[in-house]
């Protein structure tokens, strides 16, 4: 199945809700109606053999109306085809996809940690790369690069550490 065939198939299933395009040799499926987002992913898995989940990417667009954008990277080993499913939202809340792919668990936790996307229905949504006492989400565009004042927020081991630089 090529991307054109997949597009035709999806357009028949979800008329007027998708925008499929190819950019820099990558195939994107933009879900215009956020309500259909999970139905599109389930259809891709069950009817178009996209069983292998590659990645979950969140992007912060502070100047746009839809401030957060989520990109799910999927690969079909059967058809040797890669698609990116995109969905955008005004606030940082998106439904989780851990019930469709169990491997999305860690990927979504990472995006929650670094970008502050709240995945509704996620079984274990807590910080993964940064400690619990970290404030904010570093990959957002308004987070300063060298913000290190949080270093002294906690003394979790009771060692009396003081960071000055």
């Amino acid at each position: 199945m090529t991307f054109e065939q997949l597009t035709a198939k999806l357009e028949a299933l979800f008329p007027e809700k998708l925008n499929c395009y190819t950019e820099f040799k990558c195939n994107f499926i933009k879900v215009k109606d956020a309500a259909a987002y999970k139905a599109v992913l389930t259809a891709l898995r069950d009817e178009a053999s996209f069983k292998y989940i590659v990645d979950v990417v969140a992007v912060h667009w502070p100047k746009k109306r839809e401030k957060f954008e989520l990109t799910i990277n999927l690969f079909s080993i059967q058809n040797k085809l890669r698609v990116f499913v995109k969905v955008a939202g005004e606030d940082n809340k998106f439904p989780t996809i851990t019930d469709i792919w169990a491997g999305a668990n860690l990927m979504e936790r990472e995006q929650y940690d670094l970008m502050g996307i709240v995945f509704e229905g996620h079984p274990n949504l807590k910080r993964v790369l940064l400690p619990e006492f970290f404030e904010g989400h570093p990959l957002r565009k308004d987070f300063p690069l060298k913000e290190r004042s949080w270093f002294n927020n906690a003394d979790e081991q009771g060692l009396g550490l003081k960071f000055s630089r």
Binding site: W150, F151, L159, L161, F163
Partner: protein
Amino acid sequence: MGLIDRKLPDNVLTTTVDSVINYCRKGSIWPVTFGLACCAIEMMACGAAKYDLDRMGIIFRATPRQSDLMLVAGTVTRKMAPVVRKVYLQMPEPKWVIAIGSCATSGGIYNTYSTVQGVDEVIPVDFYVPGCPPRPEAFFDAITALQKKIMTEKVVRK
């Protein structure tokens, strides 16, 4: 030395307690394996066949309780810093620390929100080895420098 030289029987040498103990210490440095990042791979390469740290009496120990040298090889982040400190506190005296690589020395290229700018914010450091990662020869240089330092220490009066 000259006065008592001929008054002692054969096979007796005179020296100081300091230098005997220091001599033993410098020949059996046991570092704690504390690989944090890229430099740890070069540290492993030092321990392997070609460079062979064993010939200097260096055997990596997996526990801080049995070691007297800490090789901090890699980037220290805020999340890791209390662990570094804790492992250091668990080591028995006398203990020395070598910071390996630019990250452990000064934060290196990682001047970001999560990286500690040099391990000397957390623990005292004896020697800094530059490089990203440093070559094994630089490791050996640091270790021979440490051995020289050990020979100058006063054991009894400490």
